[in-house]
Structure formats: C-alpha cells, structure tokens
C-alpha cells in the first residue's frame, strides 16, 4: 500500500510534468496574457472530477495507471517523509530535462517547485469537495517567469503556454481518474496522404491543447 503522501506526490508529478514541458504546448496564440505578480505570471485553473476526494487521492496508488499517466517521460524519487524529486524529459524530444521538488503541505494541498529546467516555475494543487454530488474540484495555481533568451530560443516567447499546458494536464488527469484512459483519435484511419495527415495532425494538436477557453 502506498502512503497518502506518495499518492499526492504522484498527482502533483503528473500535473507538474505536463506543465513544465512547455514545448508540448508551444506555438499557440492567445490574445490575453496571464496575470502578473511580483515578476511572476500566475495562472489558476480548476477542473471537477466526478469522484470523492478520497478516491481522487486513492487513484494514484495504482502504479500501472500512473505509468500510463506519466508515460515514459518522468520518474519520481522520494527524498524524505514529505518531499519527492521528479525528473522529466521533454516527450517531444530535443533532450530538454528538468527537475522539480514536490512537497505535501497538508491533507488537501501539495506544492512543487522546479529546481532545474528551462522555465522557472512553482505551483500548488488543492483538492476541494465539490458542492452537491459533483465530486472533487482540483484547483491548481501555477507561477512562472516569462521572457528570457532561453524561453525565446525554445519558442516560448509568449507567456501563455504553461496555462494551456495546465489546462491540458487537468483534463487528462480527470479523464484518467474517471475512465482509466485518455481518448485519442490521431491514428484513426482516413483517406489522407501522409502529407495531408501531417497537416491534419497539426490541426488536431491545436484543437486538443488548451481547452476551457
């Protein structure tokens, strides 16, 4: 049996990993810039999962599911009672690697900080029981620094990509908890040539990433 702390760390790692890897979600244009506070961009996003809080935390005991969630691109290592280290590689290739430290702050809260990576970033996740019979609200706040030559070199000149990544990550987490999978239609058959299929994959990516307009 995995401890509650570890389950938490796994949830956080999934969120942080998906968010931290900015390249995945680059190249999308949105008109408004996120809020700024003391030099940090701040984005807050929430999603409602149709399971009680205990079940949302409990979900992450299943190692196999977690591996599917994190795919091949992240590992998690426990440092002490309440702290973990997460190492992730950019799944889109290019060898970008980053490290994060995750801390369980309490029964309903977890936070993380990127210790080494292309975008300075920190964030936290709260789990709150939703009203009526609606399950759990996963509320995430993400702070990151914008601009910088490195970000520009990585194609992250605009400040909104981590926001899109966060929304995408939350949507995936919800789907995993509720259905055990994230649907994907990228390889469905079509009458397209390889070149047309490539162009269509770009459209699919644009229609997939972000969400919650």
């Amino acid at each position: 049996m995995t401890s509650n702390g570890t389950r938490w760390a796994l949830l956080g790692a999934t969120t942080a990993t998906a968010v931290g890897v900015g390249r995945l979600v680059a190249r999308r244009r949105r008109r408004h810039q996120p809020d700024r506070q003391d030099g940090w961009y701040v984005v807050r996003r929430g999603i409602t999962v149709d399971r009680p809080v205990d079940a949302v935390i409990g979900f992450w005991t299943d190692r196999e599911r977690l591996d599917r969630a994190l795919a091949e691109w992240a590992t998690l290592e426990q440092l002490d009672e309440n702290r973990w280290r997460c190492v992730a590689i950019d799944p889109a290739g290019g060898g970008t690697e980053w490290r994060a430290e995750l801390t369980v702050d309490g029964p309903g809260r977890l936070s993380w900080r990127i210790t080494d990576g292309p975008v300075p970033q920190e964030g936290h996740v709260d789990l709150v029981a939703a009203p009526q019979d609606r399950g759990t609200e996963i509320r995430a706040e993400l702070r990151y620094r914008g601009g910088g030559p490195l970000r520009r070199a990585l194609g992250l000149a605009r400040g909104d990509e981590p926001d899109l990544g966060l929304r995408d990550a939350l949507r995936r987490i919800k789907s995993l908890i509720e259905t055990g999978q994230v649907v994907d239609t990228r390889h469905d058959p079509s009458g397209r040539s390889p070149a047309q299929e490539q162009a269509t994959d770009k459209v699919r990516e644009r229609l997939t990433t972000g969400g919650r307009a």
Binding site: T179, V183, D184, T185, D188, G191, R206, A213
Partner: protein, 390 residues
C-alpha cells in the same frame, strides 16, 4: 479497406484506407454490416458544420459484428451482432452517470473548437468532423468504437440489419424529441420534418401517449409514408399556411408540444427564406431557423418546443418574445443514445416500432456518393440510403 471519404464541400469518394486498430483498453473493432446516411451528414458534406478535413471518413448510424475487443471490454465478445450509438460516451463522468451521454466530459479529445464556439465541449460523435473529436466514421468495412462496453449493444436475433441500424441514431433522436415534451397522455403533438428523425419522433410521441400527431413537410412521398405507416395527420407547408392549419386543427389552442426535426438547412417558401439563405451562403449566419421560428409561433401557450434538428451557431430573427410571453418550455440537444437504445431494442423486438421502412435504398458502399445524392435531393422517395460494405 474501402471507405467513403469526404473530399471537399459536396464531394465524396470511396478510397482505400488503412484498417483501424485497438488503441485503448475499452476499444472494440466492429465489422460494419449496415451504415446509414443521416440528415446531419448533409450539414457536414455541404460545409455548414466546419472542421471537416479532406479524407475524413463519414458515417455515424450503423450496426455490425464485433471482430476484436480491447483487454478492458467486459460486456461484449467477438461475434456479437451489435448496434452502436453515434455519440461517444465514457461511462465514467457525471454526465454519463446521470444518463446525459451526449454531454460526456471525456469523449471529445479535441474540445478546443467547441469550447470556443459554445463555451463548453459536448461529447464526441463518430464520423462527425474534427469539432466532434475527429473520429473515423462507419461508412467503411471496419470501425474502431471507443468505450465499446458503453456504446455498443447486442441486438435481438431475427431483427434485420437494415431495421436495427436505426436504433443507432434516428430512433433515439426521435425518442428524445418526444421525451422532451413531457407527455402525460392525450396531447396534440406537431412534428416538423418527415425525414427518418421526424418519423421516429412521431412514432415515439404516439407511444408516449399523444392522442394526435401532425407531421409537417413539403415532400408528398414522405408525408404519405408517415400517414400510411404511422397513421399521423399531415400538413404540406408548400401548399398550406402551417400556422393557420395548426390553429384550426386544434380549435385555436395550438399544439401542446412541437418537435423540430429539420435542422439548420431548413427550407421555406417566401421572402424570409431568401433572406436566410442569402445570409447563410454569405456565412453571416450559420443556421436557417425557419422551422424553429414556426414551431415557436405555433405552440400553444405554456407548451413545449423540442428541438432535435441540428444547429451550430448563431441565428437571426429568433422569436424570443413569442417564446417568453407564451411561457414556452424549450428543450433541445444531441441525443443521449446510450440512455434509449436498450429500451428501443426491446420495443423493436416487441413489434411496437418497425423502423425498417426508413431503409428505402440499400446499396453497396461503393455507391455511397450516389446514395447521398439521392438522399439529399430526395430522389425516388429516398428516406435513407443504407450502405453495405461487404
């Protein structure tokens, strides 16, 4: 395998395409035995619903045989003869739990478009453009069905393929249209559109207790079929003033409930239609809402207007004042296939509904483009062309 693909506005062709494969635990692969055209496809083919890509495989109303199941599939086995709901539903979200399957949170992997357009993304739909998830459709030899346990239903022996295929879409849509009316028995119900959906809505209204059902269209063959098969009254809107006729038929009250089963390519006679058509062609309005306007004007005070015809965007000249001041109830939506299919299969088996007459034009998949042409132009009394891949 062979599949009917969209090749640009108004253009369809059968092409060789790769076969689908199991990609997730809950997937099943269905060998298609019958795949019907639907009024919704016309909106896609004609470019009124955006987000089609060249090469997309059409088709979402179908039945067939399970030939492969993912490791997570429990309810179905290879060899099962099944009908599949057009709407994809995960079975695990709040909407699925409350049987609002067409609002599923997790079945549209490409939600950004509809979130921008409508505020939230409803469920994915098979073979229904990249706005509805980018799923391949059923006008093919094989189709991958995600969440097979939720979306596919074993069909009773002895019911022919070309009959049970309509339990996929036209029947649940029509049923939901009548269900929305909250009938308690004895009502007068008017149905706009005598296509497959309107006919099934009319039958559902009868089964749910309506005393009189009045079907409105301009195509004499379709009105004739509805009268013969279902025993409904009919109005030809090309010859008769619909509002006048409905008022007279109900001694001034108006129908208790009005079901709109026409959709955004609604047709009309007169100047308002020319205005709508011009605006739609110029893309100033996506939808032509003629029949919705009429339904609202015709409906009795405090009655229900139930819309199952598909609309995508903004409409013009919507009689909100009539709806407000007459205290109408407006209900609408894409159908919750999975909620109604088991009940509908029972009713087919019991002989209460026999949708087989909708399949006026069975034909090989290879003739799919022609099948759509006949369906769109309503040639030769075509109610629905049903394609057979094998």
């Amino acid at each position: 395998m062979r599949a009917l693909c969209w090749e640009g506005v108004g253009k369809l062709a059968v092409r060789d395409v790769p076969e689908p494969r199991i990609r997730a635990e809950g997937d099943i692969i269905v060998k298609v035995r019958a795949s019907s055209v639907c009024g919704s496809d016309l909106h896609l083919i004609n470019g009124f619903l955006p987000a089609m890509r060249e090469g997309d495989i059409l088709g979402h109303e179908f039945m067939g045989e399970v030939v492969e199941t993912g490791p997570g599939v429990r309810r179905l086995a290879v060899g099962d003869r099944v009908v599949v709901g057009s709407v994809v539903a995960c079975g695990g979200c709040w909407y699925c739990r409350t049987e609002q399957y067409s609002l599923c949170d997790n079945s549209n992997p490409q939600p950004v478009f509809t979130e921008k357009l409508w505020g939230h993304s409803p469920a994915g739909i098979l073979g229904y453009s990249h706005a509805a998830g980018g799923y391949s459709g059923s006008h093919a030899e094989y189709i991958r069905v995600p969440f097979g346990d939720v979306g596919a239903f074993k069909v009773p022996d002895g019911v022919p393929d070309d009959s049970v295929v309509f339990a996929s879409d036209a029947m649940p849509t029509g049923w939901m249209g009548a269900d929305f009316c909250g009938l308690t028995g004895g009502e007068v119900v008017a149905v706009w559109g005598a296509g497959g959906v309107g006919q099934m809505a009319a039958r559902a209204a009868q089964l749910l207790g309506a005393e009189r059902v009045i079907v409105i269209d301009r195509l004499p063959e379709r009105l004739g079929t509805a009268a013969d098969r279902l025993g409904v009254e009919t109005i030809n809107y090309a010859e008769t003033d619909v509002l006048e006729a409905l008022r007279e038929m109900t001694a001034g009250r108006g129908p208790d409930a009005c079901i709109e089963a026409v959709g955004m390519e609604s047709h009309d006679v007169g100047p308002a239609y020319a205005y709508d058509k011009a605006k739609q062609t110029a893309r100033l309005q996506v939808d032509r809402p003629t029949s919705v306007r009429q339904a609202i004007m015709a409906c009795r005070k405090g009655g229900t207007v139930s819309i199952v015809g598909v609309y995508a965007g903004l409409v013009d000249k919507f009689p909100l004042g009539a709806a407000m001041n007459k205290a109408l109830v407006l209900r609408m939506g894409q159908m919750h296939a999975q909620r109604y299919i088991p009940m509908l299969l029972d009713r087919i088996a019991a002989g209460e509904i026999d949708p087989g007459y909708l399949a006026t034009h069975p034909m090989p998949l290879e003739q799919g483009a022609r099948g759509y042409e006949m369906f769109e132009k309503k040639e030769d009394g075509c109610l629905r062309s049903v394609l057979h891949p094998a």
